[in-house]
Symmetry: C2
Subunit: 308 residues, 2 copies
């Protein structure tokens, strides 16, 4: 590999972490795409290779391409870039597949240009890719994929992302039931208005959860990882959700909730042992359903996207 | 003073701190009631002295009496208690007058009995006094008065109070315009339902504010001390609120919001100098209104109620 080429791991992520709908995300360590970004003489952005899943090669129709192009047009460098994507994260799984592609391309191009932009600036460009994928510019998965760890998107305008510390022994177990949930239906499940009392409960939990991360207080995490606003609606779209939730909590998960807008379900766990027990429980439940699924166990990835 | 008598400072407090409606409170250092609790042979709870403001001497009609009685009936000690109250916090001011009375009595009796109860247990009994004063058992002012510093009432059932750290150089300037806001009217101003988008903004701010306290990040505090849910409604009940808010922020306040359900208005400030400038601004605005007012400048009181 030469200096004009960079190989990256761009991680999968969980958005809408429990109480933190639209603001809290986390980064996974063992699941992600591999991408190669290559600096070339010929100007422009080209997608030259896509493995794993069928995605468009046209720059303007590809999430990685759109993000790269937005940044390229802003920076106007005297060169071009080729993008190779080895897609490991299945699109539509609810673990930030499009964000991983978007993040990899902007991070890689920035690195090859000598890192003129910071991560918040990169987030802005990567959000253009998200807009292509989901119809709205959001940073829910972009932020944790770029920054790593837990992120809180304090606001989108102006864009402000906070990195929240987390204890070392925190693991995620995540199951992806291979069903499709249409974005339009998932959106339609969101309440437009919520009871003030429920909103208060939710922000008490958000505040408590942030405090628990700062203090490495696992029991408090467990008591804070509740979503009284979104989960009651969206969980209906995920088969066997209640059963997975109940049984994973029974074997010690700190919390079990919807990843992003689903269909993936994630559990936060203290320690690898519990994370693996949660995995066994998830597998057992879904093995009897006829629905295909993947399960991953991962530490929290505190670095985010990285050079391989 | 003998071993059967204890003299206390029971502090004023700010509830509903900005984004933290119903959950976030803070404790003041320079404003509070003085109370004497005396252990006597004669069983029962008696209010023997009240100075400062006219309040009922009947135990069952007095906030300090009701709180003490609830605790007394639970513990059934082989003695009685007399309570003297030197009331400095004007009832109805919105800085936790009733909470200070309730906290002083339960804290003092507990101390004289050898501290059989912890602060969370004391909160439960003090909440009985709040119920007498406001019609609902809430811990918004009780928690910071007992624990000190910033508190987050994570939940009321079961009762769980978190102590949030705060930086040393944080000051509160608070103005009490001496007008009466009827509790019923203040309650009626609360929306029953809120837009999901506003709720998300609010919990992003709660999360950010907790993070800012942990990291002593004053600029982030400033960006987080916003209330998009309650302030737009309740601020209408407080004359010159918008002007106070605008001008205090102009001279450097980190945030200016309604204390409790008003009418007091508080500003959080980095450093005593800014806190005094905020005081000058508040005084200037209210001096021209014909409305009587008090202004206090205080550090955050990290200890809460204390023995004098």
């Amino acid at each position: 590999m030469n200096h004009n080429e960079i190989k990256l791991f761009s991680p999968a992520t969980v958005a809408n972490v429990a109480c933190g709908f639209d603001v809290l995300g986390l980064c996974l360590d063992t699941v992600g795409d591999e991408m190669v970004i290559r600096k070339v003489d010929k100007k422009g952005i080209r997608i030259t290779k896509i493995e794993g899943f069928k995605l468009p090669f046209e720059t303007e129709l590809n999430v990685a391409g759109v993000s790269a192009l937005a940044m390229y047009q802003e920076l106007q460098p005297d060169c071009g870039f080729e993008i190779e994507i080895k897609k490991n994260i299945k699109p539509g799984s609810g673990i930030g597949s499009s964000a991983a592609s978007a993040v990899g391309s902007v991070y890689g191009i920035n690195a090859l240009l000598g890192s003129p932009l910071n991560k918040t600036q990169l987030t802005r460009f990567a959000m253009k890719g998200e807009a292509l994928a989901s119809g709205s510019e959001h940073a829910d998965n972009i932020a944790p994929a770029l920054f790593g760890g837990f992120t809180l998107v304090k606001s989108v305008n102006p864009l402000e992302i906070l990195q929240i510390p987390s204890p070392d022994n925190l693991y995620v177990t995540i199951i992806h039931p291979q069903i499709e949930i249409k974005t339009a239906i998932s959106r339609a499940m969101l309440p437009k208005n919520v009871a003030l009392q429920d909103a208060v409960t939710q922000w008490a939990n958000v505040g408590s959860f942030i405090h628990s991360l700062h203090t490495s207080d696992y029991p408090l995490m467990k008591r804070s990882l509740h979503d009284v606003i979104i989960e009651p609606h969206r969980s209906k779209l995920i088969p066997h959700y209640d059963e997975v939730k109940k049984q994973t909590l029974n074997v010690g998960a700190l919390g079990t909730n919807i990843s992003g807008s689903g269909p993936s379900i994630f559990s936060l766990c203290e320690g690898i042992k519990t994370a693996n027990q949660v995995k066994d429980v998830m597998r057992k439940i879904y093995s009897n359903t006829g629905i295909d699924f993947d399960i991953h166990v991962s530490k929290i990835n505190t670095k985010g996207v990285k050079v391989l």
